[in-house]
């Protein structure tokens, strides 16, 4: 099996993709298609993919669908209160399921298909500018295959009064949901986005690329909750370009899917700040790969990265955290941490922090730990009357909850807490 089936199906699909009349877009898609044709899906031979096997993507042919079957229970469960809701079903924006009535002032929301009709020149200014098809062939794939997505733009100096929740829902078996989100936060504006991935069918493939442009002195907080169905394949990349004095904070909660790869990259201009937090929980045969890259391109940037993972049974996780400090990026201040808790001797973590420093006056550190629950902590709880299983749950919960605690949005925090507690029977917090 190869990727030929995808390529063979492409011409028929291409006719239905938005922006048919835009020559520049056709060229963009063709270029992505060719890059994908040349490389196929990434394989273990690619350095940045050496621990993550994507063979399943070639074994099943995931196909786009225009069906928009809803799943009310999932929408209700994952809807975050006090946020404007934007729902994409099987990769297409569905206004009827969204709640646009009380969008906060200062934000423009369009489906990407709409944006290509109404403001193609603007889309052209941003599409492919935060991540190139050469990043890897899943980005190239998305360039060619994306069928819809969102255009979100926050006007200069506007501080959004409520968050925007982007809820990706897949309801068709073997569906391919390929979307592209373009998020522009203009100068001195501030926005919060909650991105949620869920599905109610067995096997499907999410291929999502977000490009974020955080302009001068603007701020963007991005929460991602990946709670895909248990046999789903998930690729989600968020690529940010931060202008001078901007702030980008990303919180990455990876709980679901069979196989997930998440990219979070940011390029930092002068005195911009970036904070990346993550929590991955994997059990059974789940595989979760988190790939982050922070590019300090200019002086005085600050970056903080903290990822935690809990792995049980035969689960496997990958953490690749790369921080690059360019020659020009003097006075960079960067910290990276990755902590892992292994609950089973069959679980595996491949963790690889990488610091590449080309400047000579910087403060950079990184640390990694991999461990098990401590016997002395378990005994301490037992000596207070708590049985061993509950003690294990309490300690594991406490380890993971540190990341949930960092979430400032209280509605989202409650949702995350519920998800977390559902995994640990018999404890109440």
């Amino acid at each position: 099996m190869s990727n030929d089936a995808y390529l063979a199906a492409y011409p028929a699909l291409a006719e239905r993709l938005p922006g048919q009349d835009l020559a520049w877009l056709q060229q963009f898609r063709q270029s992505g298609l060719q890059a994908f044709a040349a490389h196929g899906f990434p394989t273990l031979r690619d350095e940045e993919w050496r621990y993550t096997n994507l063979a399943a993507l070639s074994k099943t042919q995931f196909a786009p669908t225009a069906l928009q079957t809803a799943a009310d229970d999932l929408l209700a469960e994952y809807r975050v209160a006090d946020a404007a809701l934007l729902v994409l079903v099987n990769g297409h924006f569905v206004p009827a399921l969204s709640d646009l009535a009380d969008l906060p002032a200062g934000v423009t929301v369009l489906s990407l298909a709409q944006a290509l009709q109404q403001q193609a020149a603007k889309v052209a200014d941003y599409l492919g500018k935060a991540v190139a098809e050469t990043e890897h062939s899943l980005v190239a794939f998305n360039n060619a295959w994306f069928a819809d997505g969102l255009w979100l733009e926050v006007a200069a100096k506007q501080v959004l009064s409520k968050p925007l929740q982007i809820l990706h829902l897949v309801t068709e078996s073997t569906a391919l949901a390929a979307t592209r989100q373009l998020v522009v936060v203009n100068q001195q504006a501030e926005a919060e986005i909650i991105e949620t991935f869920v599905g109610n069918v067995d096997s499907y493939f999410t291929a999502c690329v977000n490009e974020c442009f955080v302009e001068q002195n603007a701020g963007l907080t991005w929460y991602k909750l990946q709670a895909e169905a248990s046999k789903a394949q998930h690729f989600g990349g968020t690529y940010a370009k931060q202008a001078r004095d901007s702030r980008f904070s990303h919180h990455n909660f990876a709980f679901g899917s069979l196989l997930a790869r998440s990219d979070v990259h940011s390029d930092l201009d002068i005195a911009s700040e970036c904070s990346l937090n993550g929590l991955y929980l994997a059990a059974q045969r789940q595989h979760i790969d988190n790939h982050t890259r922070i590019n300090h391109l200019k002086p005085h940037g600050i970056s903080r990265e903290f990822y935690k993972g809990v792995l049980d049974q035969k689960a496997r996780a990958v953490f690749q955290g790369r921080v690059v400090v360019a020659e020009d990026a003097q006075k960079t201040d960067s910290e990276m941490n990755n902590r892992n808790l292994l609950l089973s001797s069959d679980a595996e973590i491949d963790t690889k922090p990488q610091l590449e420093i080309y400047a000579d006056d910087v403060k950079c550190s990184h640390g990694v730990t991999v461990g098990q629950l401590e016997e002395k902590s378990l005994f301490y709880l037992q000596s207070r009357g708590i049985d061993e299983e509950a003690a294990r749950h309490v300690l594991t919960f406490a380890f993971a909850n540190e990341m949930v605690d960092k979430v400032e949005n209280s509605s989202l925090k409650a949702l995350l807490l519920k998800q977390l507690l559902a995994r640990f029977s018999g404890i109440e917090f």
Partner: protein, 248 residues
């Protein structure tokens, strides 16, 4: 209350306790003193059920039941409390959560319903005052970033909330300055009751100035080599442990 008969215990192949016998009646306070390596901590660990020790001979009967047969959490629910020599830090778990979970575990064991939230808060705040602690302590992670004195006070706070029948204090006085020692001792003294017994393990006689024991035992080389009243502690202080070690 507690009856230890000819207790032998080892760590790996190394015998530590070598025939220890001790009886504690309800309401009594017993102090066990002894040099480093005598087996003091091993005794507290064996009584509380910590893994890593093998009992090779002897028995421990607690309120008529075989204590050694019980899992650590069952011992706790039956009213055995160990104040740790080195209390463990548990990041992410607040004191108040631990207190409530522990108290409810005891109550469930006794067939009582869960404690009412308001009653619980009132109870805990009372005890916090008793130990002269700040209420903010309750919402901090268990022992995380606490000073030595705060950790020991926190142990006594737990005892005060859980109201055990047998309280084992494992070197609770070690490392405390005189003010902290006074507060901890007042806490312990306030817990003394006709149906509650104490086993205080200590290296220093000073503790006994603050908590008056009924009986003082000297532990050396895994056995009790001498027992007496409070005056024994003073004699020990004066003559040093070499005095009793010479008698083994």
């Amino acid at each position: 209350m507690l009856s230890i008969k000819n207790l032998h215990a080892s760590v790996g192949d190394k015998p530590i306790l070598k025939g220890l016998t001790l009886d504690i009646a309800p309401g009594e306070v017993h102090a066990i003193m002894g040099p480093n390596g005598a087996g003091k901590s091993t005794l507290s660990h064996v009584l509380s059920g910590k893994s890593g020790y093998t009992v090779t001979e002897g028995s421990v009967t607690y309120n008529g039941k075989d204590l050694l047969e019980m899992a650590p959490e069952i011992r706790a629910r039956e009213g055995v409390f160990l104040a740790f020599q080195y209390p463990v830090e548990i990041p992410g778990v607040s004191n108040i959560y631990l207190l409530k979970a522990a108290l409810n575990a005891m109550r469930k064991h006794k067939g009582l319903p869960e404690v009412d939230a308001m009653d619980f808060l009132t109870l805990v705040k009372d005890k916090v005052k008793l130990l002269q602690m700040d209420e903010k302590f309750l919402y901090r992670a268990v022992n995380e970033g606490f000073s030595g004195g705060e950790k020991k006070r926190n142990e006594i706070l737990q005892a005060a909330v859980l109201e055990p029948n047998l309280c084992i204090l494992d070197e609770t006085d070690s490392g405390l300055d005189i003010d902290a020692l006074r507060i901890v001792s007042e806490g312990v003294n306030s817990l003394r009751a006709a149906n509650r017994s104490f086993l205080m393990i200590t290296h220093y006689q000073r503790l006994l100035d603050y908590i008056k024991p009924d009986v003082v035992h000297v532990l050396a080389d895994g056995r009790i080599v001498k027992s007496g009243g409070p005056e024994l502690a003073l004699e020990l202080e004066e003559k040093g442990y070499s005095w009793v070690e010479g008698q083994v």
